[in-house]
Symmetry: C2
Subunit: 232 residues, 2 copies
């Protein structure tokens, strides 16, 4: 591993409270792999032989139902650990991870996990927190899907995207990876048609500015009010 990567990785929450020697020890076992745009990092139901930390790019994690419908579970941003199915006691990946842009990840063998955890207990403690916060997110999403109607769900989804992957630009916050109406629909449990209509309406009101696989939020505050309170 080049030093460059080590410095990128040192401050990640998953390595919090770990001394540099231990960190080197862990990173030494990884290799960095490049995933071209559109390629898959792992596939749903495939044997979970590796776990990962994303260095560059963005991934879309999704589940496919038996009848072929897709649901976007989340997007992975640089610095996040992912594909830790085996740490959760699973033999296979529960979802598919796809590179939405050219991406690079650190990759460990799943076999290394028990040894690393045994040697560096804080790794397990930090992993509980990582998985725990994802559990919170998932529950938040369940609550939203149960109680809110589509307009608010989509507004919430955009705000979350802006927070996780927003690049502050001239006129508002731009989501800095390609994302389609279909993607947003699969995040919120609706159809691309409905998302398209909503974005068009919001564009007219000056809340967002969007195009082909591209969304910017011009007025986060107004969008937030829309997300919290009914249409008006």
């Amino acid at each position: 591993m080049p030093n460059l990567d080590k410095s990128l990785v040192a401050d990640l929450p998953i390595f919090e409270g770990m001394n540099p020697d231990d960190l080197s020890d862990i990173i030494r076992e990884a290799q960095s792999i490049r995933y071209p745009k559109g390629s898959s990092v792992f596939q749903q139901d495939e044997e979970a032989n590796s776990f990962f930390i994303l260095l560059h790019g963005h991934l879309r994690v999704m589940k496919v139902t038996p009848d072929g419908q897709q649901v976007v579970v989340r997007f992975v941003a640089p610095g996040e650990i992912f594909g830790i199915a085996m740490a959760m006691g699973r033999k296979t990946y529960p979802a598919t991870a796809l590179a939405v842009v050219d991406s690079v990840a650190l990759v460990w063998s799943a076999a290394a996990w028990p040894r690393l955890v045994a040697k560096h207990p804080s790794l397990a403690v930090n992993t509980i927190q990582t998985v725990g916060s994802r559990l919170q997110d998932a529950h938040t999403r369940v609550v939203e899907m149960s109680t809110e109607q589509v307009e608010r769900r989509v507004a919430h989804a955009l705000l979350r995207l802006a927070q996780q992957a927003g690049r502050k630009g001239e006129d508002g916050i731009k989501i800095d990876f390609p994302i389609s109406r279909q993607d947003v629909a699969e995040m919120t449990g609706t159809t691309l048609h409905t998302v398209s209509r909503l974005l068009s309406a919001w564009e007219d009101q000056g809340l967002v500015e969007s195009g082909r696989q591209r969304i910017s939020i011009r007025n986060p505050h107004k969008l937030f009010m829309l997300a919290e309170a009914p249409s008006h």
Copy 2:
């Protein structure tokens, strides 16, 4: 702690791979507390001062939205660990836990957690798996809410309840704690009216048998088919 409780607890997944001495060490720090039917074990947004293992009874865990709507997150059955918010790095409980029948839980101080984990690393490893499997469940629920319509969601919910808390009786599997139409509605993101209509219809077809806060599944196989494939 009386020996009785120790034997109940020894085989739980959370203590897997732990020798009896270590187990005693952990259990010694807990006290067992009784929660009468209808009382709360902890409240949403309250400071997370404890974590728990349920010994007897059943709990309903639920989230309340700002506008007062409730969503049932899950039911806790005996043997399950719950209220581990602080292990996931939270200061407060993200939900409310209510005893649906008279219940008893082992209670630890949250302050004991870091010490216990440091001394017994397998505790952390097992906790990752516990939290991980809840994350899977939550994602399954998100996928269901996104892609399935109400009838199938309710069918799935009943089958899950039967699996987790089903008591095999003469004519089918009875859910062995009081559960209302409203509860099922809050688990599936619908209204008690719709749940009532579905149960009535299923009763006519001989799939279930239900009454006031009481549901039995007479024909799990047919209900399962209904859950997997559309109405027909």
